[in-house]
Symmetry: C2
Amino acid sequence: MEALVQVKEQIKIFVQECNDERSLELLDLLATGKMLRSKLILKIAGETPEALRLCAVVEMIHAASLLHDDVIDEADTRRGKPSINALFDNKTAIMFGDILYSKAFTELSQMDRKIAYNVANAVTLLSIGEMHDVALTDTFNSDYKKYLDMIYKKTASLIEASAASAAILAGRDEEKYALYGKNLGLAFQMIDDILDITQDSATLGKPAMLDFVEGKVTIPYLLLHQRLGDKQKLENLYKKELTQEESDWIKHQMEVTDALADSISQAQALGNEAINVLHDENNPELIMIMKAMIEREF
Amino acid sequence: MEALVQVKEQIKIFVQECNDERSLELLDLLATGKMLRSKLILKIAGETPEALRLCAVVEMIHAASLLHDDVIDEADTRRGKPSINALFDNKTAIMFGDILYSKAFTELSQMDRKIAYNVANAVTLLSIGEMHDVALTDTFNSDYKKYLDMIYKKTASLIEASAASAAILAGRDEEKYALYGKNLGLAFQMIDDILDITQDSATLGKPAMLDFVEGKVTIPYLLLHQRLGDKQKLENLYKKELTQEESDWIKHQMEVTDALADSISQAQALGNEAINVLHDENNPELIMIMKAMIEREF
C-alpha cells in the first residue's frame, strides 16, 4: 500500500525535524510492523495529508511504547530483529522512546483538540496498562475483569483512539468507529494469547506457551481455572518451565473444558459486535480486516 | 507559598484521575524539589486556576524526566531520598514516568494551542538534550557550542517554555519571558556545574568534582582546556578517580587561567541580560530570583 510508504516518510520528516543524527540512525534500525493502526486510520479517513500525519503520530507513539516495553520485558528481539535495548543498551531505548513520544505529542498538539485528547488519553491508558500487565505477573491472577481491563488499556486503547480520531477527521460517527477499534484491539490481543497455546514454537518464533511461564494468565488459562475442579495443579505449574507432559496436560484440559473454544468464541463475539455496529457505514474493508482476524485457523 | 501546596494538590488530582492505586503510592514517594518552574509560572501569570493547572502539568513532566534520568544515570538518590529505580526497579521508574508524561500531555492537549506546542516541544528538546548529555560523556568534548546546546535543551528549554506559557496566560510579552526563562535555565545549569568544583562534598551531598569523573566536560573545564598550553595533562585526568593532588592541580589551573572566574561571569552575563529584558515589565520578584542565583558565593 503506497500510503503506508508515505506514512513512513512522514515519520522520517518528523524525526528529521528533531535535528538529531542519532535519532535518525535509530529510526532506521526499528523493525516495521504491520502498521495496523495506520491501515485503520487510512481506511476510515482516506489518504489525506491530515490522515497521514495522524498515522505518523500514532505509529511513533506505538514505536515508543514498544521501545519501553522491550526494556521492561528485557526482550532481545522485536519482530524478528534485535531490539534497540539489545543492540545498544536500556538507556538508548528509554531516551529514543521519550524523543518519539514527545515529538508525537508536539505534532498532536497542533491537531484537532478532540483528536489530541483521544490519542493522549489513550497513551495514558496504555502506560497504566503496561503497569498492570507487569503487576499481574506477580501472582496467579484469576480475575477475568482485571485481565480484560489490562488488555483494553495496554492494547486496545490506542487502536480505539486511532479509529475514533480517523472518524473525526472524516466527519463520521466517532462512537461507532471507537467501538470497532476497541473490539479489534481486544480480539487481536485475545487471539494473540490463544495462538501462544495452539501454535508450535516454529510458527511463533519463540517457545510455545511462554505466556504462562512468564506469569501471564491469559483468557484460555482464566477460563480453564474457573472450570477445573482441582485448581491446585494448574496453579502449581504457574511460572514454571513446563515439561512436555505438563504442557500436554494443560492443552488437553483446555479442550476437555472448552476453555480454548470458548476463548475463541469470545474473541469472535467481540469481532462480530464490531461488524454489526459498522453495518450501515459502507466500509467493507474494515469488515474484511475484522473477519480475517477472527475467522482464521487456531 | 500557599499556591505551591495547591499545585501539589492539583498533581494529585490528575494522578487520581488515572484510577491507578500504584501510581498514587509512587507519587507519594517522589521527593519534592524547589518547584522553580511553578514559582516562575505563578509569578508571571498570577495564582489563577489555569496557571495552577499549567504548573501541575509542567511539574509532572519534570518529575517524569527525572524518573527516566535516574534510570539512565543509575542514580540511587534524588533530592536526598532514595530514587524510585533504587526503591523498586528500573521498570517501575520507566512506567511511572510514562504515566506522568502522558497524563500531563493529556491535560496539555486541552489548554491553549500555543502553550501546548511550547511545552510539548520543550519536552522533545529535553529528551534530545538527555541523549546528547549521555553522548557527550563518551569522549572528552572540547566544543563549547555542543555544551551550550546540550544544557539549553536538557535544562533550559522547559523553564523557557514555562515562562513563555505563563506570559501567554497573562497576556504579556511572550518573547521577553521566554528569554528570561531560557537564561535562568542556562545560568542555573552553569552555576550547578561551577559548584561541583568550588564546593566541598559535604555541602554538595556527593563527591566534589564528580562531573569530570563521570565524563562531563562542563564550562569551567571547557574554558580551562582552551587556555592550557599543554592540554594533554587535563585530558589524561578525564573520567579518572582523581587524587587530592590531581584535583588540587585542576582547581589551581582554573584559578590561574581565570577559567573559573570567567565561567561565573558568563552565567552572570546571562542573568543580567534577562534582568535587562524584563526592565519595563514591573516584576521585581523575577529580578530577585535571578539576582539570588547569580549573586551568590561560589
